[in-house]
Amino acid sequence: MTVFEGIGKSRTGIVGFDELTLGGLPTGRPTLVCGTAGCGKTLFASTFLLNGARDMDEPGVFVTFEERPSDIISNVKSLGFDVEQLVDQGKIYLEHISIDPSELEEIGDYDLEGLFLRLELAIDQVGAKRIVLDTIESLFSAFTNPAILRAEIRRLFDWLKDKGLTTIITGERGDGSLTRQGLEEYVSDCVILLDHRVQNQISTRRLRIVKYRGTAHGTNEVPFLIDQDGFSVLPISSLGLNHKVSDERISSGVEDLDAMLSGGGFHRGTSILLSGVAGSGKSSLSASFAAAACERGEKAIYFSFEESVDQTVRNMTSIGTDLQKHIDCGLLHYVAARPTFYSLEMHLAVMLREIVRFEPSIVVLDPISAFMGSGEQPEVQSMLLRMVDFLKSRGTTAVFTHLMHSQAGTTETDVGLSSLMDAWILLLNREIGGEFNRELYLLKARGLSHSNQVREFVMSDRGIKLLAPYIGDGRALTGSMRQSEEARARRNEVERRAEVARQAERIKHRRRKALAQIEALQAELDADEIELNKVTDAEDMYLEQSAMDQQEMEKSRRVDG
């Protein structure tokens, strides 16, 4: 930033403009603001002056050559500036210089010293640091001698520069030149061109920095906006690709969808595209994202370009999601506007402003394809790119829905957005066997391993469910065909189980029989054992008896003998 040290800058307080010019208008130098009638020159100038006086302690003088001071006061009153109060406080002085050519006669040489004296008086009165000349060109219609006028205007600008006043000079756009009277040749430091274009019956205001000496500036046209909040400039791509990323996972509100991603859910701050044909469930799924955020106690904004809030609430209630309670407790902000209601820039500006104000953690745009009718493709693309960048830079999760007109070329979107998106969910509505079934594919999820399998997308009063399809015969079946296939599989299973039970019974029976046989044999064995014991006992007794008989015999022989 050392490059810019040479030039001091005075903030204008105009939203976006100070960022665009890296600080505002060149301090102590004149800036020419030119454009066609009604493009906002006077508003730009007065915003610069009034912001300076009110917020930056830089009093100012508004020199009006055309409008009466009372008109200017009432014009900016609606934007929240109380000029009368600033005048009373001595921070603003309105100098009305009106010259009626009909009462003037020029005889001989003259100069505009009277103008200088009046400006000096006004400047000294409030201690002005800023001055607006709106528009000095009207002097050319009051005085007939352009040579004197040009010399005096040149002297005036030099004088203002010497006094160190940050000046805005407004000028009406001329044919082939920036201003009718060629004021640009006197102002060499900073030239800003305002433009007001109508395309497809929708008007767009644009601002371009034609020249800004001594500072880097983009020469791109930048859209700007005049609404109840005044003048705001919307820089297109002041945002780089250096946003922080989050590893945190957030739920989509559909458990089955979270389960398709390893780790459960999408990364916070990613951009998620939901594309699909009509009636494929885009809005329901995106509303579910928003509702899930609200359930977590986070804020969500839902921008709808096709449905009103009541319609969405009713439709979501039918699938078991109560959005109304989130709206009531202030967590969900629902903004509905037709795409043709504003120009693209206006839409973008309104959305950015709502986002900045509400600070949601998730933003839903439903559907972005609606813009295709209100602008050329590059414009729509650039607007959405800005939106994506803006949300990424804030770490806000973005959900975009996109209506596809045909399912044939499902791998590209009209606005060529798919490559900008971190995650892409494709919703199809397929006819099989005389019925339409919704299918969900997770085509892409950057940085997340995810299921590549199709899911059947089922919405009921219990919410959104994703069912794994029946895979058989080399194809995935959904709907009734899935159900009949599943029923058939269930029947087969029952039969198989019965068969297993029968077999087990048979084996058990056989086993019981074997056990009975074993028992009989054992009994036989036991009987034999008893028999054997009896035999050996008899033998022992016989042997004992015979021994005793022997003794008896010997005994009797001895007696005889």
Binding site: G108, Y110, E113, G114
Partner: protein, 101 residues
């Protein structure tokens, strides 16, 4: 008309010449005006010279932009002649025309 005549009858009317400092243009204008009045309109006008350098708020009050400016407030309508009044015929025409009203 009657008011004009009565005013005229009361005496010389006032011509105010606004200048800013003693610049050549201012000095020339004063000189030219005095000469015109003395030669062509004796006694009809009194000349007042106001130096706006000394009292700039008068420039705001009387809506003076160019210097030198000669203002003839009466008779109405107000006439403003800017420049160093180097063309006395034109000056006379401008003052005379309104006098004939």
């Amino acid at each position: 008309m009657e008011t004009n005549e009565t005013l005229e009858a009361r005496g010389p009317k006032k011509l105010v010449l606004y200048v800013a400092g003693e610049t050549p243009k201012s000095l020339a204008a004063i000189k030219n005006l005095e000469k015109i009045c003395a030669e062509n309109l004796p006694g009809k006008y009194v000349i007042e010279v106001i130096d706006l350098k000394k009292s700039p708020h008068l420039a705001r009050e009387h809506n003076i932009v160019a210097i030198p400016t000669l203002v003839r407030e009466l008779p109405t309508p107000i006439r403003k002649i800017i420049g160093d009044l180097s063309n006395s015929e034109k000056v006379l025409v401008n003052l005379q025309v309104s006098e004939n009203e």
